[in-house]
């Protein structure tokens, strides 16, 4: 599989606290990778650095061979790195359709594709409802639909299953598995059941560093990971 993203020696500190400490990794095309780790491990900060929500202190990011370290968030999005947020981040006063339209305008996608994605994700009936008036589960789907309308090459999902009821999680799992056949996915998630069912590769972060990286079976048997997660020594 071809390499799509390469991160080299990325670091970010907040005062004396090293949130991301000299991290290097790469992502391969059409691989579903999960990024896991305890709270405060630096997962979201790492994603924020890759998508330029935060500026790295040092390091380099290459996307499909191109150095994107000095690009802005909107330029990175236009290149095909699209993300969702840990806390749902939408345009609350706009309708579901208008939210999707804003995303479609960002990638010059036509209205037909908006209708198609709305139908695929069963958002049709909420079309004219303001996003602030729909349920949390629907908001999560709107965020996913927006991400898809941006035609990502790499889709980064920050805790997509968090707060979703069991039925919605099942639905999300099905959708992500389908998406994963066409788009490279990087998923941050705390729900281990969800992660091990979805991911083909797992990276584990702790205290700003990647401490393990491999297939789910390797990770589950990794003694350091077990120690961090289960307190086993």
């Amino acid at each position: 599989m071809r390499e799509i993203l390469r991160v080299e020696n990325l670091s970010k500190s907040f005062g004396k606290f090293k949130a991301v400490d000299n991290v290097s990794f790469n992502l391969r095309e059409l691989e579903i990778t999960a990024l896991i780790g305890p709270n405060g491990a630096g997962k979201t900060t790492l994603v924020n650095l890759v998508t330029k929500k935060l500026k790295p202190d040092q390091g380099r990011i290459l996307f499909m061979g191109r150095d994107i370290t000095n690009l802005n968030s909107y330029q990175i999005t236009r290149l095909g790195i699209v993300r969702t947020f840990q806390i749902v981040n939408l345009f609350p006063t706009l309708t579901v359709y208008e939210n999707l339209k804003v995303a479609a305008l960002g990638s010059k996608t036509n209205n037909k594709e908006i209708e198609m994605i709305m139908s695929e994700l069963r958002l049709d009936k909420y079309k004219d409802v303001k996003v602030m008036n729909v349920s949390f589960g629907v908001q999560k789907l709107v965020e996913l639909a927006m991400a898809l309308l941006l035609k990502p090459k790499l889709l980064i999902l920050d805790e997509p299953a968090a707060g979703l009821p069991r039925e919605d999680r099942k639905n999300l799992m099905r959708i992500l598995k389908e998406i994963g056949e066409k788009i490279t996915l990087l998923v941050i998630e705390h729900d281990m059941e969800f992660v091990f069912e979805l991911a083909q590769r797992i990276m584990v972060m702790n205290r700003g560093k990647i401490i393990a990286d491999g297939k789910p079976d390797d990770i589950i048997n990794n003694s350091i990971v077990r120690e961090i997660y289960l307190g086993e020594s």
Partner: protein, 320 residues
């Protein structure tokens, strides 16, 4: 905003246009004067609300665009080419680069920093108008701005009124259609700038676009004002004049396209009705503003819509 409401807005503007047109038939100078001011200030407030209500930018310097429109029209018609229509068009076109320049300087900042920068630049324009006496007439301003020109003659009060009415209706409709276009949607999406960035949009460019359109419409209202009054003074660039559309917008309701129009109607009516008690009028306005901000964040229009919705719900419940 759903299609029905969109239609309501268009229908309201058209009905308002017809009603204002009927006023011209009365020939009553007082009504023509009040209605003209209503239309000019409405355009000024609508342009302001594009920034405040839609782009979420609080400006304290909007008067500089009103003044730019007024002074360019005044200077052009007095010194270069005597025609109000051409003067108005020149002021609109000239405002585009001016608004882009001001926007480029100010829009890299948001919230209070943006507000203070616009205030400072507005006062800079005011200082130029006061000090550059040879050109601007200083504190005396420009006098005798012509209504009769080579192409257009609007020297009669009715014709002048119709001239303002045409621009009022056309501009209100155009601005409304713009807000409901794809570009307008991106301006509305400025409610969450971070999300907008992560949907591949350059936020600065969208802000600049909103700022330019808003500046141009404000310049149009300033130009109409200059032609209507025939006299302009630097007061229209002073920061207090920049605060007026904010007051009008808050009064009417910044969440609604027609909110500022209602705000202007209330503002103009109050200033006229309370003119006799001039010394108390600001006190009355202050009390009204406090009441609205504490009780009706959506302005008078927001309160009316809320009452109408509650009455409708009540009726539905009783019919069940």
């Amino acid at each position: 905003m759903n299609k029905f409401l969109r239609d309501i807005n268009i229908i309201t503007i058209l009905i308002l246009g017809i009603l204002l047109g009927l006023i011209s038939l009365t020939g009553d100078r007082f009504y023509l004067y009040i209605s003209s001011l209503f239309m000019i200030y409405s355009l000024y407030a609508l342009s302001y609300n594009l920034l405040y209500g839609y782009a979420k930018l609080l400006s304290f310097g909007h008067g500089m665009f009103f003044a730019t429109g007024a002074y360019i029209t005044g200077l052009f018609t007095l010194r270069i080419f005597k025609d109000p229509l051409i003067g108005l068009l020149v002021s609109i076109i000239s405002t585009i680069p001016f608004a882009l320049l001001i926007g480029y300087i100010t829009l890299r900042h948001t919230k209070v920093y943006f507000a203070i920068l616009t205030l400072a630049l507005s006062m800079f324009v005011y200082a130029i108008l006061i000090k550059w006496r040879d050109v601007t007439g200083g504190s005396d301003g420009l006098v005798g701005i012509p209504k009769k020109g080579v192409i257009v003659d609007i020297s009669s009060p009715q014709l002048n009124y119709l001239f303002i009415l045409i621009f009022f209706v056309l501009s209100s409709l155009t601005l409304y259609l713009f807000i409901n276009s794809s570009r307008g949607l991106l301006i509305k999406a400025l409610v969450n700038e971070e999300r907008l960035l992560f949907t591949g949009h350059n936020v600065l460019v969208i802000r600049l676009y909103a700022f330019m359109i808003s500046g141009v419409v404000a310049a149009l209202s300033g130009s109409l004002y200059a032609i209507f009054m025939s006299v302009i003074t630097p007061d229209i660039a002073y920061w207090t004049f920049s605060a007026e559309p904010l007051i009008m917008t808050l009064l009417g309701g910044s969440d609604y396209y027609l909110g500022p129009l209602l705000g202007v109607a209330i503002y103009v009516s109050l200033t006229t009705a309370l003119a006799r008690f001039a010394e108390y009028w600001m006190l009355f306005l202050g009390i009204t503003m406090i009441a609205i901000i504490i009780s009706f964040r959506g302005g008078v229009l927001g309160a009316l819509i809320l009452i109408a919705t509650r009455l409708k719900d009540k009726r539905l419940k009783t019919s069940k």
